[in-house]
């Protein structure tokens, strides 16, 4: 009996090699298409109206957030539900530096990244020892708590009434970039974030994250310093998210704690990464683009029911594509069949 099992396994199971078995044409397309796409985008301000440009800016902002989450949530498997805390801290760092200390924007931005990374390390050490839901809830608690702290420091942060960056006139330390300027900033950071994830996915660090995700105990037994790895991942995630927050703060000029630390943003970045494909490089990009355009479309056309329909669509997509669009597409391509109904039962009890 045992013999039979062994033999059939050897015959029918097809070994799946990581990386592509495809030829040079596909490899060229893999580089060529994104580059062409980028070139196209670079010309966007010349082609599109301001409002569309603003939408694109938001799309790329979410690409950054989703990719940053992807590192700690998708790859390492630690689903943070409080990453918005870095967004808020990044935004407030830039705002406070520019308003209170009269710094120009460009030196303030890297400081935001440092603040994000440091906060991630400080919070990460206690919180990354928790698993699953506990970690998610703890990060949520951290985000909410940090927001309350910000609100309660009105002298520094303007408290609940917000903080306004001097963006125009004689008080402005940096001239306001305008729609095109911010578009390029978000686009550049989105490309960087995606490049970082791409680099991580192929590196030793990527293996470290994935082994933590797939079996943390075994990873530790195999010699991986899981604590250090997790904190590092969290720091990278925090720094990228904080940078996005910093740019956002400047773009909005006036920021409020409720907006900059909003639960909606934190959940949205997770939804985008997950629906696109957590743990893949292109997944969060697809998720961010798809969902933000969907949201914008709903806002334009059915404003009163926007959130309602959006919620319904999220639930539906998650049900039918729980592993994300990218993984589903890859599986479907490999097995030459698409069955959403079957897919929905994948994680059923």
């Amino acid at each position: 009996m045992g013999q039979a099992v062994e033999d059939t396994t050897a015959e029918t199971a097809v070994p799946r090699a990581r990386g592509s078995r495809t030829g040079p044409v596909v490899a060229a397309a893999r580089i060529g298409i994104p580059l062409a796409f980028l070139a196209f985008l670079a010309a966007a301000p010349l082609m599109f109206v301001d409002s569309f440009l603003r939408t694109l800016s938001t799309v790329f902002m979410y690409v950054i957030l989703a990719q940053a989450w992807n590192i700690i949530g998708g790859y390492a498997g630690y689903a943070s539900f409080g990453n918005v805390v870095f967004f808020g801290l990044g935004g407030y760092t830039v705002a406070v530096l520019m308003t209170e200390l009269r710094w120009p924007f460009w030196p303030a931005l890297p400081v935001a990244a440092v603040v994000g990374a440091v906060y991630a390390a400080v919070i990460g050490l206690p919180v990354l020892r928790l698993r699953g839901h506990y970690f998610a809830v703890a990060t949520l608690g951290v985000a909410e708590g940090t927001r309350e702290i910000i609100i309660n420091l009105p002298k520094l942060t303007g408290g609940g009434s917000g903080e306004t960056i001097p963006a125009v006139g004689s008080l402005a330390t940096t001239s306001y970039p305008g729609n095109a300027g911010f578009f390029y900033m978000f686009l550049a950071l989105a490309v960087i974030a995606t490049a970082v994830v791409w680099r991580v996915s192929r590196s030793r660090f990527g293996y470290a994250l994935r082994s933590i995700h797939q079996d943390e105990e075994a990873a530790a037994a195999a010699g991986l310093n899981t604590t250090r790895t997790k904190v590092r991942a969290f720091m990278v995630s925090g720094a990228l998210t904080a940078l996005a927050g910093g740019i956002y703060a400047f773009q909005q000029v006036t920021i409020y704690p409720d907006r900059l630390f909003s639960v909606e943003i934190t959940v949205l970045m997770v939804v985008m990464a997950v629906i696109g494909g957590a743990g893949t490089v292109i997944g969060p990009v697809i998720g961010a683009i798809g969902l933000e355009f969907l949201s914008e479309y709903l806002r334009q056309n059915v404003l009163e029911y926007h959130t309602l329909i959006f919620g319904a669509i999220i639930v539906a997509v998650i049900l039918f594509l729980p592993q994300g669009i990218v993984s589903f597409s890859r599986d479907a391509w490999r097995r030459r069949r698409i069955s959403l109904l079957e897919n929905a039962r994948r994680y059923s009890l």
């Binding site: 949530g73 498997g77 689903a79 539900f81 206690p126 919180v127 020892r129 928790l130 698993r131 699953g132 839901h133 506990y134 998610a136 809830v137 703890a138 949520l140 608690g141 951290v142 909410e144 708590g145 940090t146 309350e148 702290i149 609100i151 309660n152 609940g160 943390e216 899981t226 604590t227 639960v263 959940v267 997770v270 939804v271 997950v274 957590a278 009163e304 029911y305 959130t307 309602l308 959006f310 919620g311 319904a312 999220i314 639930v315 998650i318 049900l319 729980p322 929905a344 039962r345 994948r346 994680y347 059923s348 009890l349």
Partner: protein, 294 residues
């Protein structure tokens, strides 16, 4: 001193109410490992059901609690069986996202149907109060507290003395083993969820009776249930009661003596602290290990 006593008494009464809201949430989390982000929405739905029955039929919320609980039980059962069950075996973020999407749906349906206006159920008697030594105890809140204790006791009895309760506990401790023993896990999970929803609904009608409510409050109830569930230990009924009382008193005293929102920061800080140091809760013993590393 007077202020302190009043605030403490008030906090205890409030805390009882928070406890009923949280105990179901804690039960579901402890037994099925599902964090239901839509829990707060269920509370608000309960409030609206009671409100509707009161305006249409003049039904007192203490009686309206029963239909509210029944309706919510049925809804909870269906939601779990039809929706949440599909993602039980998925990575953690799945249940969180599905329940979050559900919350968006439910809250927005309520907004569409009832608008965001704050409402309350005006009964004659609820706002009248018992006066003990200068400390004012509104009857509505006293009733709420009473029901909190009663429902907790009933729940504990149910869980420990009935066959279904036993099945629920077994499923919570070892799903696979319970299944091999003939427990219908899908049904048990759905019942657990239904019970949690029913309790949320009952709590909702009390909320409606003692204060104002609107769909926007849903998130607050969910977040609060987190804190209480963690403090009391997941799946621990008495722990949830104790946790609720603690949170109620702390919030009440906090509102009296400390700046309004700082108390929230404190509550969250406490949450993170408890999770970091003693994830099984101040009072509880969890069904499963919260920590990855000992």
């Amino acid at each position: 001193m007077q202020r302190f006593l009043q605030a403490t008494a008030y906090g205890l009464l409030q805390g009882g109410l928070f406890a009923i809201v949280a105990v179901g949430f804690s039960l579901v989390w402890g037994v099925t490992n599902i964090v239901n982000l839509a829990h707060g929405a269920l509370v608000i739905i309960g409030a609206y059901v009671a409100w509707q029955l009161h305006s249409a039929l003049g039904l007192d919320p203490t009686l309206g609690m029963l239909p509210a609980a029944a309706i919510l039980f049925a809804s909870g059962y269906v939601i779990q069986r039809g929706l949440v069950n599909r993602v039980v075996n998925a990575p953690i973020w799945m249940t969180l996202l599905v329940t979050f999407g559900l919350e968006l749906l439910l809250v927005n349906l309520l907004l569409v149907g009832y608008t965001g206006n704050y409402r309350r159920i005006r009964t004659g008697w609820a706002s009248r109060a018992l006066d003990i030594g200068g400390v004012r105890l509104p009857y509505g809140r006293l009733a709420g507290f009473g029901f909190a204790i009663l429902l907790t006791v009933l729940l504990v009895l149910f869980i420990t003395r009935t066959r279904t309760g036993l099945a629920i506990r077994a499923a919570g401790m070892d799903r696979g083993m319970a299944r091999s023993m003939g427990v219908n896990i899908r049904h048990v999970y759905a019942v657990t969820f239904g019970i949690a929803a029913a309790l949320a609904g009952a709590a909702g009608s009390i909320v409606g009776m003692t204060s104002t409510f609107s769909p926007a409050d849903a998130g607050h109830f969910t977040l609060q249930s987190f804190v209480i569930a963690v403090l009391g230990g997941l799946g621990n009924m008495w722990g949830a009661l104790a946790g609720g009382l603690l949170v109620g008193v702390v919030e009440s005293l906090g509102a009296q003596y400390v700046s309004g929102t700082l108390i929230n920061a404190f509550a969250f800080g406490l949450l993170v602290l408890v999770l970091a140091i003693r994830p099984s809760g101040l009072l509880g013993r969890p069904f499963y290990e919260a920590r990855v590393e000992t």
